[in-house]
Symmetry: C2
Subunit: 409 residues, 2 copies
Amino acid sequence: MGIIVQKYGGTSVADSQKIKNVAKRITQSHKDGNLVVVVVSAMGGSTDQLINLALEISEKPPERELDMLLSTGEQVSIALLAMAVSELGFQAISLTGNQVGIITDGFYSNARIKSINNDRIHSELNQGKVVILAGFQGISIDDEITTLGRGASDTTAVAVAASLNADRCEIYTDVDGIYTSDPRMVESARKLDQITYDEMLEMAGLGAKVLHSRCVELAKKFQVPLSVRSSFHEGEGTIVTKENKIMEEVVISGVTSDKDQAKISLIGLPDTPGVAAEIFQALADASINIDMIIQNASQDGTADLSFTTAEKDLDKTIEIVSEIKEKTGFNNVNKDCNIAKVSVIGIGMKSHVGIASKAFRALADAEINIQMISTSEIKISCVIQEDQTENAVQIIHDAFELGQIDSNA
Amino acid sequence: MGIIVQKYGGTSVADSQKIKNVAKRITQSHKDGNLVVVVVSAMGGSTDQLINLALEISEKPPERELDMLLSTGEQVSIALLAMAVSELGFQAISLTGNQVGIITDGFYSNARIKSINNDRIHSELNQGKVVILAGFQGISIDDEITTLGRGASDTTAVAVAASLNADRCEIYTDVDGIYTSDPRMVESARKLDQITYDEMLEMAGLGAKVLHSRCVELAKKFQVPLSVRSSFHEGEGTIVTKENKIMEEVVISGVTSDKDQAKISLIGLPDTPGVAAEIFQALADASINIDMIIQNASQDGTADLSFTTAEKDLDKTIEIVSEIKEKTGFNNVNKDCNIAKVSVIGIGMKSHVGIASKAFRALADAEINIQMISTSEIKISCVIQEDQTENAVQIIHDAFELGQIDSNA
């Protein structure tokens, strides 16, 4: 029998009725002949409630104690889910991160999994039980409870699936799967049957919120097939897997957008070596992530340098570049929050030409001005004016015929 | 420096403001030069909330999973309390039952502590930290989370105090200490400065709800001085300790009452050996606790047998005795819920005569009929009509002058 790892997020176990529904799904998979390991998040809303309690006591609670507090959320949901599975007449056992032996590096609130001990899981599976694990949490070698960062139950599920050499990892969530674009923005957006890890990584990084990058990276590293599907409806969802022949024929998998972007322009920089390095080092030291960068040399021996960052980091970025204004010698700093990034992603770009020009042409025909461009092997991103985002996404989606099932290039 | 163990119940940590107040008390004791170990219950009401969640899913949830669920309550309160102590500028660390190494016998929902590992506690105390432990929970040798039964955080505190050889164990609660009688019933009830373990055991068993018998038994066994005091007001509270000279001079420590009593009478039993044994064996097999027993032989060679039990067990008791009616040969069974037990407790009874007659005389003068009597070395209990309870308690309290500080015999 093969092992299936199923992961249910907070919205899927938000109340007792939803927990009972999840128990039905789990037992169905068990009845289908699978060895089922389940990873669960805290009940929807409960983590926020715990954080609010902590903030009533301390504005900046010690991270160790915050992890001690937050890890109770998953312990509640695994116990309740094990009760619900038992209530249906099946054997179930819940296990905390400590009981499983999910060993982490000990960094509170953002720990990384170092190893997973499978002995207990195998032993319980061999007794015919459904094994229900707490997501999001682990234990350091010093016996300290550590959490993996918000949304990290997906990561737990993939790590457990990799460790158990599971047939696949099913991520149950509040959407049906991965779409060619955000269905709230593009009416003709279509659910993908499959997508590669690399495409999913680009989509996750570019604004598609279904899976966290960290979980996809881990799945790619250990070649764990991911199945993203709805916990509320039936249906196959989307398989995230390694590249295969069929996928290579599909040129474009999706179009994403991200409005949480700001552009900073430094005007009149001296065009001498090392200036850009100095600026980006200062920003890196402050943990500010820079996305796109463009430098234009002017006729007068100076240059203009533009770059983008997350909108929330804008004020800090302005502060830092202002501090080094004299040292680096630029004249002015301009900022622009009224921008967005629209991206086209597809593994098939590697072997097809003309993708970029097709996207640029589509935007140009709609009189949407492209301010910045960056590309990777499987992605093209354009910075445009923010209020043109929906239009741009729709136009590119149409240009590549992503709403149609059979051809999209 | 001496070690002080402080225990705070659920009402003392029911919200963030109360948790902050508890943190102030703790740090005061730390500043006074003590090594402070704190045992905390779940926030008031949270255990009931968790139980209700479980009952929404299953009428009879598996006990293992219920323990997994309920143990989160204390984990929340220790984390929040550690945050509150840190916020006051002191070092604090919270520890779960697992992290301390509170090893239990593995009986879910009603486990007993087998051993406590002090290494981690000593190590944290030596680093100058206030150590905050989860009450109510432990871990079996199979790494399973077990709880000690409701209200058992007191037991955790005493066990930890015994294990650490602490100077004393302070139980903070919502009353000021142990009273000569229930102050809601007897206006002149007086707080006792001290009371012996044995008296406290009788009081706990006879309806005084401040401390659980199990915690007092443990304190007696390991000679841990208990201090019962209010977590909301200042004041010394009551010391529960071993017998000493001063205490022996005090004849009576308290008067308690218990209305949760029922009397069952079996009429016309054949007066032959083994009949009573048969009846009480059948009740013991059903885990029904019998309190007082009286047998009267009649002239006609039959006997009447009366006994008391908790009111909640009455229906089951009637059912069981009815099943063996033919076998044992009695004629009728009568039941009476309209009774109560009033008890007088005092270590000084051992060395003073006339206590029982004084109590009986006081009740007789008030025309309160005594239906049954049972005594121990330090206790006299009388069964009376339920609606005379308050009056009887008041009369006995007055007869022994318990409201006055200097003399009470």
